[in-house]
Symmetry: C2
Subunit: 526 residues, 2 copies
């Protein structure tokens, strides 16, 4: 155990605390030397979330952050926080604590990490401000393990306050710039803790479902030798004395794996697009969840497999992540997310008819604008009571060159998007697996055949019919955007961790908002 | 069902086949039109691997590639392949097949994909050349679904021949350039199919184990605003009007997540290093498996958790992937992989003593060279009978600035590497969580503090002691290296899918070999 009082730093009033010959508790508190793995004490640390009445009257050790502290006469009340859980701790002058010890506890900077020995006591009145409402900890020893600087750039309680409460009651909230400049602190809030755990859960459910369906996970290259997907929106990398490019998607590689007989593949990885526009649907870097699958006779075999995968994610979140969902909902209230089984499938022409009936003027081969997507989401919800649906049979004109045309209607294609709460979250299609038709379609799109030669060649030695799709999972704030948007501003590495959240949120390119109610469409109850 | 004989292309002898008025079987074979999802037939396709004596005398439909075909009088023997499985199919003149149909079957280009209807027949003598040894398929209908070009750039049977067999018996093998220039075909071999499935399995076992241990999966940014890990070996990206950089590791971000109270995090993702040297341990792009974890009092808590994770992967592979392991071993025979539980831990000074005893001259603070690593691997195997061990307590001088010094010996550090068959596969350490010491160590290493300000700042508001490690999982041949190594040569996008294999192989940077015996250390039996 690191020795107490062997302080590398000093608290605000060190003299007063240290100079205490008469302090009968002086061994019971202090600032530990830095933990450098000198010893392996057999002390067991109990998790804050496990402090319940079952542990009443036990003496336990707990490690937590000082979330708040409040001195009151001969007592000091601390709230100790561990991840999204917290408990009240009481240091009171008595057998175990001296008045110096109470003062020491009251002066510990917020967010410092402390080891506390205490007795778990049942309380008569529930402690509404803590997750552990039925007990408090009566502190016998308290040592600072890692001391925080005195001035915090943001208050965690402000950071989890719903915006509406801030506006209506004039209470402080934290703006996006402050959050992102102090991401390490912002991520400590119960909301961020829950959002990140939900994200981790979504990745896990995605893979678990696909592995159970017989998919193989692949890794695809990110630095590539040619801007093979057209050349627009591609980042250039200085590669020793040459240039290379960042992959705009794993599209070509997952198709190559299908041509190599892997039958069903998926990957999770970063995708790079040099999109210089300021919307939450145009990201320079995001994490994509990608699927590709051979089928027997009809691309609906694949489309239905993808839709089922999403449904399994929705269900898995509801079953395994209720705590996290409720934590996010406290800050970002939203309507329960609804979906049907099997998933509703509408054809593009049906959607057009619904929009036209609602007064929208659109041509048969026009793509959906973002406002029309949202309107359509509302119309579908009214008519079918679902927040999740498939839109099938897009006009060929609005899809990439490798999309399989519909043989019965040359203006249509065998392609689909999937929507959550009126936002497209997945785009997919049957791909052309015939090198001759692929060449024709590439020429029609004005693509330089030389640049996609290897791609087309991969279909020359027998290729199974196949389809797939890609989900934009999380936006990454790589800290670049601020610097570029604000001339003279410095990109801030502290903002470089950012995960917008999950399918349904395409993230925000320019200093993204952590989690808005509109961007948490699916993690709610059914 | 796509109509037969409605060919978009023609076989070598179309006239002869088509011009057959007297052909009583003419509806039973042909080249299908491209599958464009016109229909949803209710035909069930049976998997080749499910063709066993249990299905004897059943009529089934199978989709597979023509692996080989051999005409013999009025019969044609085909081997139909599906992924790593294959079955013999017989087309014989009789009630179902005309001589024209036999000729058609015999002329189908290898690697073409066909749909075959046939009766499963038990055979009297095992078919040694197929995975389905006890049955063959008596073909009644055969349609080409996707026609391969007539000339294959490589033969699959050559591509799975062990090198030694090629050398000793003068039989053809396939060189690395040909493999990588025709990656889609090379990946169809039973060996590649197995290697990719093992890789997918390793990722799955890694995540499954960590999620069960309470870890949270994170995604970290790849385009970053500053070359924050020192500046050497960093790729520069043109970011609109500015420059950005590719992340050399997720190190900083996973540590930030620990400072943000996630306690235990992991990530799987690409790592970029501008290393211009031609060895299989210097890669410009690879996939890393990364772990970071807070601990209570000693970094061995983390080190043991990581070692156990690797042991769980070894065991999971042995339990769930025996078929794949045996398939790889056919081409790349190797000794069974041995490991101990708990994992053997040696200190650096013990390793030095063993090496010195074997005649190696090394200073106390010298790093291990690759030959010495290998020698040590052999010495450890002899003495302890294990292929997997931890080397703990590296000299401080050979580790990065953020490594925690050993407080009891200023020349040592709280750091470790893990080895498989004498190659380092993981490097890890306790990290410095105190901003003051971190600043001192960075200055000692001559690092520009301004560039790592955000990193150091993330420890200012209370940071738990923590440790972690990173595994180089797979090398990615992104097709760049060839073009750069051979002046005038063109980077070849067809080589852009490459996954070296799994932990224990750091991949090869310059046109990597798919899987050498030395690079498959751990997938063998215990």
């Amino acid at each position: 155990m690191p020795s107490a009082n062997a302080s590398r730093k000093s608290q605000e009033k060190p003299r007063e605390i240290m100079d205490a010959a008469e302090d009968y508790a002086k061994e019971r508190y202090g600032i530990c030397s830095m933990i450098q793995s000198q010893e392996k004490p057999d002390r067991v640390l109990v998790w804050v979330k496990d402090l319940t009445v079952q542990k009443a009257d036990e003496v336990v050790w707990v490690r937590g952050r000082v979330h708040t502290s409040r001195a009151k006469g001969k007592q000091c009340f601390l709230v100790l926080r561990q991840q999204q859980f917290n408990v009240q701790a009481l240091v009171a002058v008595g057998d175990h604590a001296s008045k110096q010890m109470v003062k020491f506890a009251a002066n510990i900077n917020k967010e410092s990490i402390v080891d506390v020995e205490g007795v778990v006591r049942k309380v008569n009145q529930k402690i509404g401000s803590c997750t552990q409402q039925d007990v408090e900890l009566h502190v016998q020893k308290i040592y600072v393990i890692s001391l925080a600087e005195p001035r915090l750039p943001l208050q965690l309680d402000d950071a989890i306050r719903p915006e509406i409460e801030g506006e209506e009651e004039g209470r402080a909230t934290v703006n996006q710039d402050t959050r992102l400049d102090n991401r390490v602190i912002d991520l400590r809030t119960s909301t961020s803790q829950a959002v990140f755990r939900l994200q981790s859960g979504i990745c896990h459910l995605f893979r678990e479902t696909l592995i159970n369906k017989g998919f193989v996970e692949i890794q695809t290259p990110k630095i590539i030798s040619a801007a093979s997907e057209g050349g627009a929106n591609v980042f250039t990398v200085s590669y020793f004395k040459n240039n290379a490019y960042l992959a705009q998607s794993p599209q070509l590689y997952k198709q190559m794996c299908i041509c190599a007989d892997f039958e069903k593949v998926f990957c999770i990885g970063p995708v790079f697009r040099a999109e210089d526009s300021n919307t939450h649907r145009h990201l320079t870097e995001f994490v994509g969840l990608d699927i590709e699958m051979a089928f027997n006779y009809h691309y609906h075999e694949v489309m239905e497999e993808i839709a089922d995968t999403l449904v399994q994610i929705f269900k898995g979140l509801q079953e395994r992540f209720q705590t996290e969902i409720q934590m996010v909902n406290k800050q970002f209230p939203c309507e329960p997310f609804k979906f049907l089984e099997p998933t509703l499938r509408l054809e593009y022409c049906e959607a057009l008819a619904m929009l036209r009936e609602a007064g929208v003027e659109m041509g048969d081969e026009d793509d959906l604008s973002t406002p029309n997507e949202k309107l359509l989401g509302r119309l579908v919800k009214e008519k079918y009571d679902t927040d999740f649906y498939i839109l099938d049979k897009y006009p060929l004109a609005v899809r990439p060159f490798y999309t399989m045309p519909d043989p019965r209607n040359p203006k249509q294609s065998n392609s689909y998007d999937m929507f959550m709460r009126g936002e497209e979250i997945l785009s997919g299609a049957q791909r052309i697996h015939d090198p001759q038709l692929l060449t024709e379609r590439a020429l029609h799109h004005g693509i330089d055949l030389e640049k996609i030669k290897a791609y087309i060649d991969s279909f020359r030695f027998g290729a199974p019919p196949h389809a797939g799709g890609g989900i934009v999972f999380t936006g990454v704030d790589n800290g670049m955007n601020q610097g570029l948007q604000q001339p003279g501003g410095q990109p801030n590495a502290a903002t470089e961790i950012y995960l917008a959240s999950h399918p349904g949120d395409r993230g925000l390119r320019h200093r993204p908002v952590p989690a808005k109610s509109t961007s948490l469409p699916h993690i709610n109850g059914k």
